[in-house]
């Protein structure tokens, strides 16, 4: 009988190969990949020192926010190292977009981050408008900002529930879903769908504001602040919550910049980088709002920062409603779009950070290359820095505080 490495055994473990004994199969219950290590890092990770063991968290774990698999190397309750394994939700959106025409491509980007779909439409639409040199009507821009900020609130409200759920609180997730459901119903009245809105068009938006949307929005705005504050009161003063989230997963500014972080996760370290101000687009330069920042850079700061952003979004919505101009909602464009050959890069500030699209046109009706940059993808890799040294209970808390959405991570 020849000697077999763990990799050989693992390759046969799932089959009914009689040559593999039960003891050997039992050994392969470790989540060691059934092939030789590809990089030094992988080889280093899959080597156990004394007292360490692997725990395979996901892809069916109750709280990995989608289908994420994290291989944890733990020593007792302490996480020594971890290796996120992606790709369970990979759909090849970029390739599909390159095989669809410009209008169809927006449909594909829509379900990338199903929590905040409007932002996934916004950046490709802006990139295509740059390619086409289209001026978007002002009313359309106002409607975009209005709908986008509503979606941002919905996303942040859901974040609150998720974060609390991963810390063991049962109630906030349902309260935040009440908030989100109201916004989503509102957006359904505006866009026609609850989740994958597909509302932004190249050169404008799909439909004008209607009565149902406005009445729902008015009802909600009158009670939004008090309702959101009351929901947060459960967590913000809760000693257990605060003690768990404070000082957990701390990132300093230099590391955050080094890890290419953007959005609330970067602002929680003290950098007031917000694409809406740093590189203004749409009508944001005309609006009056603040960029909340915090300096702690821990999970609590990230949570509180998002709660502050909800208030700023409410301000923006208020201004949009007050200053909404009349006019067309679509620029005049041909039915079939053939931009001149060229390149365009458009970035927007989403609820999770900077969504960006890099589109290359070759003069046909399909984008030659469409690169989609998703903030969740970039933020998820920081767990490799934040997690080691923490306890298993905190892995989910840290991951939730970074607020990744696996649809966007896996593209």
């Amino acid at each position: 009988m020849t000697t077999r490495t763990p990799y050989d055994i693992a390759a046969h473990a799932s089959s009914d190969d009689p040559r593999i004994t039960l003891e050997e199969q039992l050994g392969t219950f470790e989540p060691i990949p059934p092939y030789p290590p590809r990089t030094e890092r992988e080889a280093e990770f899959y080597t156990l020192r004394d007292g360490e063991m692997f725990v395979n968290m996901g892809p069916q774990h109750p709280s990995t926010h989608g289908v994420l698999r994290v291989v944890l190397k733990i020593d007792g309750e302490k996480v020594v190292d971890l290796d996120p394994v992606l790709g369970y939700l990979h759909r090849g959106v970029e390739k599909l977009c390159e095989n669809a025409d410009y209008h169809q491509a927006i449909c594909y980007t829509d379900p990338l981050e199903y929590i905040s779909s409007l932002f996934c439409e916004w950046s490709p639409v802006m990139a295509f408008e740059k390619l086409l040199d289209v001026q978007v009507p002002r009313r359309a821009e106002y409607i975009r900002v209005l709908a986008g900020e509503l979606n941002r609130i919905a996303s942040h409200a859901l974040f609150m529930g998720w974060f609390a759920l991963d810390l063991g609180g049962l109630t906030p997730i349902l309260w935040s879903f009440i908030e989100r459901d109201e916004i989503v119903e509102m957006l359904a009245a505006l866009t026609g769908q609850r989740m994958l809105f597909n509302y932004f068009r190249i050169g404008g938006v799909n439909g004008d504001l209607n009565h149902e949307f406005m009445s729902r929005l008015g009802t909600w705005m009158s009670k939004a602040t008090s309702q959101i504050n009351s929901n947060q009161a459960l967590l913000n003063e809760n000693e257990i919550f605060v003690r768990r989230a404070r000082g957990l997963g701390v990132i300093d500014t230099a590391t955050a910049l080094n890890m290419c972080m953007t959005g609330p996760n970067l602002r929680a370290t003290g950098v007031p980088f917000d694409v809406r101000r740093a590189h203004p687009y749409s009508i944001y330069p005309e609006l009056d709002f603040d960029i909340p920042t915090r300096v702690e850079g821990d999970c609590l700061a990230r949570y509180l920062l998002r709660m502050d952003e909800i208030k700023q979004s409410l301000r923006i919505i208020d201004q949009c409603l007050n200053e909404m101009p009349d006019g067309p909602i679509m620029a005049k464009l041909p039915r079939l779009i053939r931009p001149r050959p060229g390149r365009a890069y458009a970035a927007i500030e989403g609820p999770r950070g900077q969504y960006a699209t890099y589109a290359i046109s070759d003069g046909t009706d399909q984008p030659y290359r469409m690169r989609i940059h998703d903030p969740s993808f970039v933020h998820l890799q920081t767990v490799g820095l934040l997690m080691p040294g923490n306890l298993i209970a905190d892995t989910m808390a840290i991951m939730a505080s970074l607020d990744p959405v696996m649809g966007g991570v896996d593209k």
């Binding site: 092939y35 390739k95 390149r343 890099y358 970039v378």
Partner: protein, 183 residues
Amino acid sequence: MDRALRRRLEARFGERLTGPVRQRHDETEIRIAPGDVPEILLALHDEPELRFRMLSDLAGVDTGSAMQVVYHLWSDTSGDWLRVIADGLSRDDPRAPSVTFLWKGAEWMEREAYDMFGITFEGNRDLRRIYMPPEYTSFPLRKDFFLPDDASRSPGGGVRPMEQTHGPTNAEAEAHIRQAPAS
């Protein structure tokens, strides 16, 4: 549009740029050779009048004849996006230096570019496939990788097996694709 940035870039890098500095809308674009990537990006990152501290995006591009790596940078000294195109990587064996020494966060983006285009980033400590399964052998975002239902562009009206689409370029098949009418 920041005209000063163009002058600064031309003055600083001059000879190293392989193409003219282009500016359109709010984007500034420079082209460099892949070998110069670490040096130029380090200069862009560190020098006080440039200070491009944020790497917004890292993308691979297959132009059909060569590979590119495209970096998008942002700096607080100018409001523009700076697009750095490392052009002219060979399609057979695309290799580019990694920028993980500057931005550790580029690691996964480089892994993605490797997974999708097969671009090898020298210096990335963990360059393995990130989306596709490890036993997968093709590079899906290359332009000679066709979707199974995209039969009209495939030679012979059929579908080429996915596994044949990577590796050494088949010049004959390539020519056939280029000539095939886009019916």
